[in-house]
Amino acid sequence: MKPHLWFIAAVSRIVPRRLRSDWTREWTSELKHRESQLSSWEAARSTRWDLLTRSLGAFRDALWLQPRRLEEDLMQDIRYGTRMLRRTPGFTAVAVLTLALGIGANTAIFSVVYAVLLKPLPFAKSGELFNVFEAQPADGVPATGWSFANFEELRDRNHVFSEMAGSQQHQLTLTGHGEPSVVNTSVVTPELFSLFGEPPLAGRVFVPADGKPGAAPVVILSETMWRTAFGADPAILGGSIDLDKRPFTVIGIMPAAFRFPQLTKAEQIWIPLVQDPLFGTWMPRRGGHWLQVTGRLKPGVTLTQARTELDALGASLASDFPAENRGWVIRMVPLQQMIVGNVKPALLVLLGAVGLVLLIACANLANLLLTRATSRAREIAVRTALGAGRTRIVRQLLSETAVLGLLGGAAGVAVAYWGVQALSSLLPANLPRVNAIRVDTVVLGFALLLSAAATCACGVVPAVFAASGNLQTNLREGGGRTGESRAHRRARNLLAAGEIALAMVLLVAATLLLRSFANLTSVSPGFETQHVVDADISLPRFQYATPQQWTAFSDDLITRIQAEPGLKDSAIVVPRPIVDGVVNLAFDIVGSPAASAAASRTANYVSISPGYFRVMGMSLLAGRAFDQHDVASAPRVTIISAAMARLYFPNQDPLGKRLTFGFPPDSGAAREIVGVVSNVRDVALGKDPGPMMYVPFAQAPFWGANLVIKTSLSLSSVAATIRRNVAQIDKDLPVTDVHAMPDIIDASVAQPRFRAFLLGLFASMALILAATGIFGVIAYSVSCRTNEIGIRVALGASRDAILRMVLREGVILTLAGLAVGVPAALAASRLVEQMLFEVSAHDPTTLAAVAAGLAVVAMVAGYLPARRALRVDPLVALRYE
């Protein structure tokens, strides 16, 4: 053959098959023609050379046609795949649904994880932002804020941060614009806005002069606040609003996206620290730890450099101001880590759990596909016999799976949209960055990636198995079900056992969390919650400036409320248990040696009006309760909790002992212990009761009051009565929160409930999937063994023997699954250990119960198809032999 024709023939091998003959004809016909002309005209060799060079272009031509190969084959595969899926709508529906649930749940949880943990904070160069805090390792104080005086030293002396700002938050009363209302107030040093580099929507941000003592009071509104509370009135800029009855000039409006330090509150305002009625007065004092400090690291400064500098700074603060700073060190963490810190493990556990669900779904689908591929062995054998290569078959089966994966992914995104909506109503309101959760491009990309991964995970093994079948056997065995090869059966059994193992892990984790949640909600808080209503009234600090005014207000209020019908049992308390957090104060016992710095005596301090114990159903264990004689001028008294009595007065009678505090409002005066009262869980339901001391409100008033009322009246009527009475005293006082106590307790366990609910949901999905997995394996095995069972029955095997034989398969699968699942569950439960309350992560009861439950479910799933084996008619089964 002539070299150019030989070359065309060689190159034609890479031309897509569909185009090949046409392509070869086009190239060779003209080459041959010219060749013949050459010989007849006896042309020069150079022309023959010309033909050869021209034939070389065929290679480039063939290369150019390569993409068509993919295009054509892929479209063909997809068309074929779609046709096959349409022909088996039941299978398709189950597969798509399984994938949709798996992908959808994963995508929804990922959207939460992404928004909360991964998405960079919405600030410029947010990686440079760090939270800088003080810690006292010796006393086990891991992280706390700063005093303003210490913050100034830190800001001015360090060389590693380009900018630093302090912030705090509390609530002020806004009056003069409709109903008096309470606004979330961020109390900040002026540098905050330049630190974050966020320009205002209108007006200006704070300048250093705004933070100096004596500066005019100014306020910045959030966009949302401006729109909701002020109707987006542009004239408010430069105007004045009353906060705690004091006029502030509005100088700027921040865009809605800027939320700091209150990350979840869209409605907030910012005022300079110096203007705050509470924290402003704390500024000159060096002791105290209340200011949250954020800094921006200078470009090029490493973490090690920064930490070294902070260590040195901490040491010099301790030597310059030993009274306040000895034992304290300075630490820093990335701002992002600080914000999401405590929810990270829970979210990662949820993400892992939902990932396991998808894995089980994939195993299930792989099993289904394996079954299909086996029953299609003859079709594939025919295709192979007709010349389809092995890769071609694999590709074709994979593209069928890819169609499934895409359909599942699309449905999964729909599930995710719905799931995110459902989640946002379920999510605890105090979850950081909850407003950033949405299905966005990153989340959609994740879903797509997941679909592709799922397709590969469940498609590859069946496809490779199918393509490697024995051609002759498969062709010879004719239609219908062919016997399954040992490798197939092993793969299917492995997948089913794997599903059991994974389901075991999820079920154990979920059961532990559910039991923990049940423990948490059944624990008694130590006080009555039924029929107790709670209301929060805060007093403007500028208007109500003195403790005498606070006492007068609360006396007036409680007298009025108690005079109302049905509200006799009411009292005042600050701070409320569980809701408010604790005021932990150090004290000394008169006559005892002063406690060392490392083991100081502290107790949680609560100010109450007489009758509080009665309202809350707490029992007096010794001594007396407070009464109307315990006023400011009377001898100072206190009642301590049983836990405090046990901790600080072991084997002694605490009554008559005297305590002193360094902290206002007592300022060194001694209080006599007049009673001991039962414990309450004041921090959280999950925390053991700490030492507590109660003092009469009249002797230790706060600038506000929380009413607790035991009543059988409805919540709304109680709220209306409280509002009416408060308005009669001062029409500018807002009554913000009126809640039933059970609701408050309920809200306090929102995060554990969320975790337990979701993990329970995922575990149920896993259980159902694993059960269908077992069902599928046994059912398929039964249908493959119809002949065998028929022969056995014909030879006289009893029903029991057949049932046992089929069930044994299920038992072996289950046992194998559990053998892997139990150790895996033990290992995995360590991940949830931190979230458990009064349940051990290795709780044997839970483990045994879950294993038994799973075994029962697996048995039932195996029994249903086993019954079908009993109905096999030997005549029918053997007819085809």
């Binding site: 003209e30 013949s36 021209r54 070389l56 272009g57 065929a58 290679f59 480039r60």
Partner: protein
């Protein structure tokens, strides 16, 4: 395929076809372009519906005692594309009706 994206060689090939040089080797001869350029360009043009191809009738080829040729003709889009591109490149003479290849227009 928008006309603006026609390369110089694609324009030359279109022009050659319009001038009646209707099969691969003929186009190579008249444009001087190498085969590795002409054929991929033809595929591209055909893919973009600027040219259409058709095998010569067997009898016709046999009467000239040679294998049948694959003839390319301009589609209407191809004619427009050529007019536009020729304006841009200002090359060759303005498009003219084909000399030969009339018999090929019997397709429909």
């Amino acid at each position: 395929m928008p006309a603006g994206y026609l390369s110089y060689s694609a324009t030359a090939i279109l022009q050659a076809i319009a001038n009646g040089y209707q099969y691969g080797f003929d186009i190579m001869d008249v444009t001087g372009l190498p085969s590795g350029t002409v054929y991929p360009a033809l595929r591209r043009l055909e893919h973009g519906d600027l040219v259409a191809s058709k095998w010569e009738k067997h009898e016709l080829a046999q009467s000239e005692s040679r294998p049948p040729r694959k003839y390319y003709t301009l589609t209407r889009d191809g004619e427009h594309a050529l007019t536009d591109a020729a304006k841009r490149y200002r090359l060759l003479e303005p498009p003219r009706r084909a000399r030969v290849g009339r018999p090929l227009r019997e397709r429909g």
